[in-house]
């Protein structure tokens, strides 16, 4: 490591302050805004997994991006969901003609000013996918190599931002929720590994099987994963006192 700990300590002491609820959200929004400004796109957004292993809207630079993320969260399908589930960059030139996500295409077709082109990069924490950073355009768009290779570096900066909050023992609700979601996702990943070994499935098929089993039994994916592994559920975070 090429850092001077004493110099860093002295500098952080100068910036020392009590943690505030909005600090992490604001820092994440900085990265998303940077992505929007630097990439040739109409907007950018960020989704994180909840404790159930499903993606949820966190922030977007515009209303159409917010609607795209909410639609994917409700339907459980779309390029951001795939980027998160499969842990790889997922690009879509035109959502309306893409056969991979018919439900999303049908929803977006009702919105004449909606999103058409999307590319999503998985956000990881300690190697485990926990979310998706995305770019979108209002017109069909063939994403180029600069977009596909550049976006993951900014997804890494999202990881550093979350890691900074966790390293500083930040007490915000979002930091605690992300820590909890990460513990759940690790358990879900282990259940996926179990299904892959036991049933000869690939990781996407195993995750789909977990999610389908949860839907059909009206339970959460994490409950199915815990049952499969014969383990207790991770403890849910307590709500921190309001600052």
């Amino acid at each position: 490591m090429h850092l001077d700990p004493e110099a860093l300590d002295a500098s952080l002491r100068m910036l020392s302050h009590p943690p505030r609820e909005a600090d992490l959200q604001r820092a994440l929004a900085k990265v998303v805004t940077a992505v929007h400004r630097l990439f040739d796109c109409d907007g950018a957004g960020l989704m994180f997994t909840d404790g159930n292993g499903a993606l949820r809207y966190v922030t977007a630079t515009d209303e159409t991006g917010r609607r795209l993320e909410v639609a994917q969260a409700e339907l459980g399908e779309g390029p951001c969901v795939d980027a998160y589930v499969h842990g790889r960059v997922t690009a879509c030139p035109d959502l309306l003609s893409d056969q991979r996500w018919p439900g999303l295409a049908a929803t977006l077709a009702r919105d004449p000013n909606g999103v058409r082109g999307v590319v999503g990069a998985p956000v990881r924490l300690t190697g485990t996918p926990v979310g998706c950073l995305n770019l979108h355009s209002h017109r069909p768009r063939n994403w180029d190599e600069a977009d596909l290779h550049g976006l993951p570096a900014y997804a890494d900066l999202i990881e550093e931002t979350i890691s900074a909050a966790l390293a500083a023992e930040h007490t915000s609700t979002l930091a605690r929720q992300l820590e909890y979601a990460l513990r759940n996702r690790v358990m879900i990943e282990r259940a996926i590994g179990f299904l892959m070994a036991d049933r000869g499935l690939d990781s996407a098929e195993a995750f789909d099987q977990l999610r389908n089993r949860a839907r059909s039994s009206r339970r959460r994916t994490i409950h199915v994963a815990a049952e499969l592994l014969g383990e207790e559920l991770p403890t849910e975070p307590e709500r921190p006192p309001v600052n």
Partner: protein, 169 residues
């Protein structure tokens, strides 16, 4: 090996900052990055994404000269095409410490409105810094400022007793 919770916290913070500098260089598509911060009115070399970047940050602080200093004093980005050439396109006084680094872009880091340091982006080939890379540097400096601010969160509720000193003029 960290021994107590304070040392564990410190080690975690160091890990985060080390990987942040590496990610910053990747996001800027440059060869490396370095960080200089001001505390108690003094610039301090925090380090870099690799040994050469760290050495150059240290050299600037030791000599008291370099693009990071010009950037912190002016509050504006400073792009150096080739360290080895004469001023203002280079900084020949840093040549003995530049290692493989040739081109440098220094961007001010602001917390609030105060310049609290400089982010250096380094490349191993000489080149100018087009407006696109200046824009990338500015955005990344804001991200670094936000990450530093998070790292400086004190769960014990302690806050700094004196205002930020910023850069001595």
């Amino acid at each position: 090996m960290p021994r107590n919770s304070t040392e564990c916290r410190r080690a975690s913070i160091m890990d985060v900052l080390a990987s942040t500098l590496a990610s910053t260089a990747a996001a800027a598509d440059v060869g490396g990055s370095g960080l200089i911060l001001v505390s108690d009115g003094k610039p301090r070399a925090i380090g870099g994404s690799d040994a050469a970047c760290r050495a150059l940050a240290h050299a600037q602080v030791t000599i008291g000269s370099g693009p990071a200093f010009r950037c912190m004093v002016s509050g504006c980005p400073v792009g150096i095409e080739d360290l080895l050439t004469g001023y203002p396109h280079g900084h020949p006084e840093l040549a003995p410490y530049s290692g493989s680094v040739r081109a440098v872009l220094s961007v001010p880091i602001r917390v609030g409105r105060v310049v609290t340091g400089a982010l250096d982006l380094y490349d191993r080939t000489a080149h100018d810094w087009p407006s696109r890379q200046l824009a990338v540097g500015r955005e990344l400096a804001q991200v670094i400022a936000a990450i530093l601010y998070l790292l400086a969160s004190d769960p014990q509720g302690r806050s700094v007793s004196s205002p930020l000193s910023g850069v001595p003029q």
